[in-house]
Assembly symmetry: C2
Homo-oligomer: 247 residues x 2
């Protein structure tokens, strides 16, 4: 049974301002909630239909049994899948400390939730520990990002940062950005470490970010497309950095 107050609260978490006010976000569906429960994230409450079983027997969160109709009311999916959970956003701050050597992804005002989720999966796949997001980028706790990131959101650290401060505190790391007139990534020398900046879907890397780029790179084109999808371009670039690190 879902109280009116619970209904209002769960629905409010579909909006960024309430997620930020409460520091909480929604995770939906059997598989993803089970990944959440196996992660280090703190889980506040679980709302499931009768019969849903967690893989984790010792759930510490409140567990409310609700009906399919109630689940439909709070779900962000067309076809809700048994369960929705309220998780706490991790308190991750970047305090302008120098980062250790490694590969990092930086999203410069990326907007599309599906792209952000796919990029968090790319980071997880290729062992990139952290995705930095410029203020003005999509909220990674948006239900569409949570969904498209699969469980990777629970393993990859996501930090909202001032990019100027990030790059100034880390002058020991190269800063790569993709540009139409960049150097062919297959042919140019790449460090195995550094920042890879991915720009906004329509506008690319912003003029306030471009001065920090130490090397402009490009994925060479064989055909006539104006651009690649932002997540696809990220995958190709990160793959290339990992490939050369094996050599």
């Amino acid at each position: 049974m879902l109280s009116k107050q619970q209904l209002t609260f769960l629905r409010s978490l579909q909006q960024k301002k309430f997620r930020q006010m409460y520091g909480k976000f929604l995770v939906e569906g059997d598989k993803l909630v089970n990944e959440l429960l196996s992660s280090t994230f703190k889980v506040d409450a679980i709302y499931s239909v009768q019969g849903w079983k967690s893989v984790n027997d010792a759930i510490k969160a409140e567990h409310h049994i609700i009906t399919e109709a109630e689940l439909q009311k709070v779900s962000t999916h067309d076809t809700p899948n048994k369960v929705i959970a309220v998780a706490e956003m991790p308190l991750l701050e970047y305090n302008n400390e120098a980062l250790k050597a490694g590969l990092y992804i930086v999203l410069d005002k990326l907007q599309d939730p599906g792209n952000a989720g796919a990029i968090i999966r790319i980071a997880d796949w290729f062992g990139v520990s952290t995705v930095f997001l410029a203020d003005g980028s999509v909220d990674v706790y948006n239900p569409k990002v949570v969904n498209s990131a699969k469980g990777s959101l629970f393993r990859v650290q996501c930090h909202y940062v001032d990019l100027k401060q990030l790059f100034e505190a880390n002058k020991h790391l190269s800063v790569y950005g993709t540009f139409m007139d960049g150097e062919n990534i297959y042919r140019t020398a790449l460090d195995k470490d550094g920042f890879i900046i991915i720009g906004n879907e329509g506008n690319g890397i912003g003029p306030e970010t471009e001065p920090f780029v130490t090397k402009k790179i490009a994925i060479p084109a064989w055909g006539k497309a104006e651009s690649l999808n932002a997540a696809v371009a990220t995958g190709i670039v990160v793959s290339e950095f990992r490939r050369i690190s094996l050599q």
Copy 2:
């Protein structure tokens, strides 16, 4: 002014069965309609708000002026952008003829429209002339595919085929498929030509398709993600084939 008949017709094209019945599909927005008008596709009708200008002065299609409110009624977008066009599906058939040497993408029951659009952009970017789709794959004339493919749908040939017939008619070409236990794509020998099969988002390459695969490949993982987004994986694999073709 939009007649009731026009309204019904335009809305019907949001559904696959009517697109197939009429052999027509919708193209929306200023940029995309202009790309359509610059393409080889036949355009039947354009419905635009007053003041919309085509880059192509000599439009042969009917051109109807409609109001913003009327456009909203027929649009598939949250914020319609000036114009919607009705285009004819090209009559592309694959007659089981042997293909010439080249790289081809094959979608084995891929379902997500955003992924299909992103993959058609990948084909266009990397100069892959043709995307073959197994029956049961997403309809590439779905408005969401049209939108996410950008103008690439007008340049890349998309054929729905029986995969068995395709592979049996083209035994001169290697057939690559991504599998968890495939060979590391960075390390294994790849032809520069062949078919690259991309499987369904949840189930991968189907059991009826797998026997045609002549080489199983894999993108090596550094982290813990179970998988990559299907379009991202396509981009990485196609990029790797193009990279080695330069060597």
